[in-house]
Subunit: 430 residues, 2 copies
């Protein structure tokens, strides 16, 4: 069909867009069960809330309700769901009761759509968004797809932001006449995908201080998609919405019920403190779909209203802690530390961020990556998580989807390739 | 908050976007039950498939499935749902078996998102999309929101396209040097929202012939959102995908499971015959949400697979036929024809398109519209459905949402205002 079809002239967006790697990773993981995927950030099928969804779907389809969940809902999302979500968030460590306002919240198709809408409202092609190095690769791809320039903030090897580096970067952008192009800073602050780090209160304060010092009162987008997935205890730092240091900034907090509840219901949210920005976001959503799946929203609302979200969280927190332990243990047992690889054991989330010895090449086209695919294990090359195209020696692994025995097997295959890499580096260096 | 908040510089999109009227209409209809809304194109709560959704939601949450509906799905949508949808479509009157290809289909958040993605891939600000006069007002708003210029094709009063007028318009655009800006033609071809007309085979052939004659091999977007909601018999014309006259054109067929099944599941689809266009659409969807609610998709797939979609359609077709009869009867009985108003009795869909005597003003700010709101009845002013800002004397009414007694009451209030309008026109003319 493609060979004989009419040539079409596409929009700038259409011409410049490339197929998202996430789509390819999801397709591969879903298509081939021999291939063990440590790449896709899926949740674990056995940790999905079948019972809760089944129970409340049944209740919701009995009829006789004040509002009908199989009917259209509001563009902004169900008001009771927004109320309950704000109550839940306000009860998190360090949060102010009034920081999360149901009127400032909107429900979206996963937090991804919330991010997309927020960026559409702010950025034109050529504009800049500051991101951590590494940052969430789906966000980087999305920004590039819209013709934007993600610029990485100088970070330590483990992903910790260098406050001085940020200040220097901002001054450089100033000198280069780019200040007006810098439209937002995007922070993945809880069990970061991919660094697995969380931003401490001190780090967040430092970021606010630097931005103010250098005069960048730009929108701050905090992506907290993994916040609920802590293992032992919630991360103690409050969100930017509760921090007085961020009072001068337009703020957007992104959260979701995909990872901590059911990815298949596809419900996320944003909470935007800037009324005009929120208004633009809602206008764009009105054009894109005028409301997210109302039935999915109603199911989650019922779960929250019945006080059962916390119980489910307690279950999956333990579950994902065990899986992270299995992956960490398998990587250690296999001897990955011994060949010079480093990583933090995550305290939450689904993601491991591995750093091979400097100079290693783990990119998509590398011998290492091809070796992994041949041996039947997939990972996300660190390069994809880098705004600057660096981080060639890093890899993102997910402990979320595979069952423990397959996690061990996948880790074994991965470590074996790391051994081959170490030998070839050693022999080429000798 | 707004008064003291940091001034933000928005994107071109953010600056130019206006709040969609659909959002306002939905909010009003949901908020105030004294106000009888003939405006919002809601489906009828009592016609929603509670039993089917409850039954299959229960089945799907039993576990032990090959794929897990509470997990993420594919960006393009469930393959079995696409297969079954294509089989259903291929069985419609006049369709070719191979016209609907599951590989060319993608699942979206209602057909609205499919349209948005398709337009994002094709159009830059300033570009032109040709539309019927009247056309679907949510599409017009969306196009304008993206900085595009919808241009109305010359049509008869009832909405029938004038083939000669189309040819003349295309030549004028040529002369004005605008040919390269014309990126698509958008047709609402089955029980059109708002004209309630369907395009005959002859009309469709004429459109294809004119486009080819004047050398506009532009993408053709056919919006068939109401196709399934026929009253007595399906509309006999096949879609553009099956018509040899449209073979040279890139084509997109839009359909949905919102109107004919459950608006609250928010599942629609597009079927795109142009592989490169489809690829761009999927890339953008990958960035926007990387897949629509998987659980909603799985429910609809089960309904189709069990052969129960047809039964549900048979029920709602009869239901909506009765409601259209009630509204039509109430408008006639009230004497609306006698004061010079015209309309076709719809043969399907949820919409009536009323034309007051030429020169009447039914716009949002008109005395008539304010009178209707005061009397507690809402409609969509025809002006909103006009690309050129004309059609002041027209009104879109929906028979979908209100129960029969309220439909009668709403019609009574509306006709009473038409009487007032007729008197004031008569007295001002005397």
């Amino acid at each position: 069909m493609a060979s004989s079809e009419t040539a079409l002239s596409f929009s700038r967006l259409g011409r410049e867009i490339a197929s998202p790697v996430i789509v390819d990773l999801m397709a591969r993981a879903l298509a081939n069960s021999d291939l063990l995927s440590l790449a896709a950030g899926f949740t674990d099928n056995v940790a999905l809330p079948r019972g809760l969804v089944g129970r409340f779907a049944a209740e919701l389809t009995q009829g006789g309700l004040d509002d009908e969940p199989l009917q259209y809902g509001q563009n902004q999302g169900r008001s009771r769901l927004r109320e309950l979500s704000c109550q839940y968030l306000a009860a998190q460590p360090g949060e102010c009761a009034e920081a999360f306002d149901p009127a400032a919240m909107f429900i979206s198709n996963g937090s991804q759509q919330a991010l997309y809408l927020a960026v559409q409202a702010l950025c034109d092609p050529g504009d800049i968004v500051l991101v951590e190095e590494p940052s969430y690769f789906v966000c980087l791809e999305m920004l590039r797809g819209l013709g934007l320039r993600p610029i990485g903030i100088p970070c330590e090897g483990d992903g910790a932001i260098q406050a001085d580096g940020l200040a220097e970067l901002l001054r450089e952008l100033d000198s280069a006449g780019e200040r007006s192009k810098v439209k937002a800073i995007y922070l993945v602050s809880y069990f970061c995908n991919p660094s697995s780090r969380s931003l401490s209160l001190g780090e967040k304060r430092a970021i606010a201080r630097v931005l103010l010092d250098v005069g960048y009162e730009i929108p701050v987008i905090e992506d907290a998609a993994y916040r609920e997935l802590y293992f032992d205890a919630p991360h103690p730092a409050p969100s930017i919405l509760s921090m007085p240091e961020f009072a001068p900034f337009p703020k957007l907090y992104l959260g979701t019920y995909t990872k901590p509840f059911a990815t298949g219901l596809k419900i996320g949210y944003g909470c935007c403190t800037h009324s005009e920005w929120l208004e633009k976001i809602l206008c764009i959503k009105g054009h894109q779909d005028f409301g997210s799946a109302h039935f999915s929203q109603a199911i989650i609302e019922r779960v929250l209203d019945a006080g059962l979200f916390q119980d489910h969280l307690a279950f999956i927190q333990k579950h994902y802690a065990e899986k992270a332990f299995v992956l960490d243990h398998a990587l250690r047992e296999g001897g990955l530390r011994e060949v010079g690889w480093k990583w933090h054991q995550p305290a939450g989330g689904l993601i491991f961020w591995l750093r091979a010895p400097e100079g290693s090449d783990l990119r998509m086209e590398s011998v290492f990556c091809k070796g992994c695919i041949e041996q039947g294990v997939l990972y996300v090359p660190g390069e994809l998580c880098s705004a600057s195209g660096g981080l060639w020696h890093c890899a993102r692994l997910s402990s979320g989807a595979l069952p423990p025995n397959k996690l061990r097997e996948a880790a074994g295959r991965f470590v074996a390739q790391a051994g081959v890499l170490a030998q070839s580096s050693g022999s080429s260096g000798s």
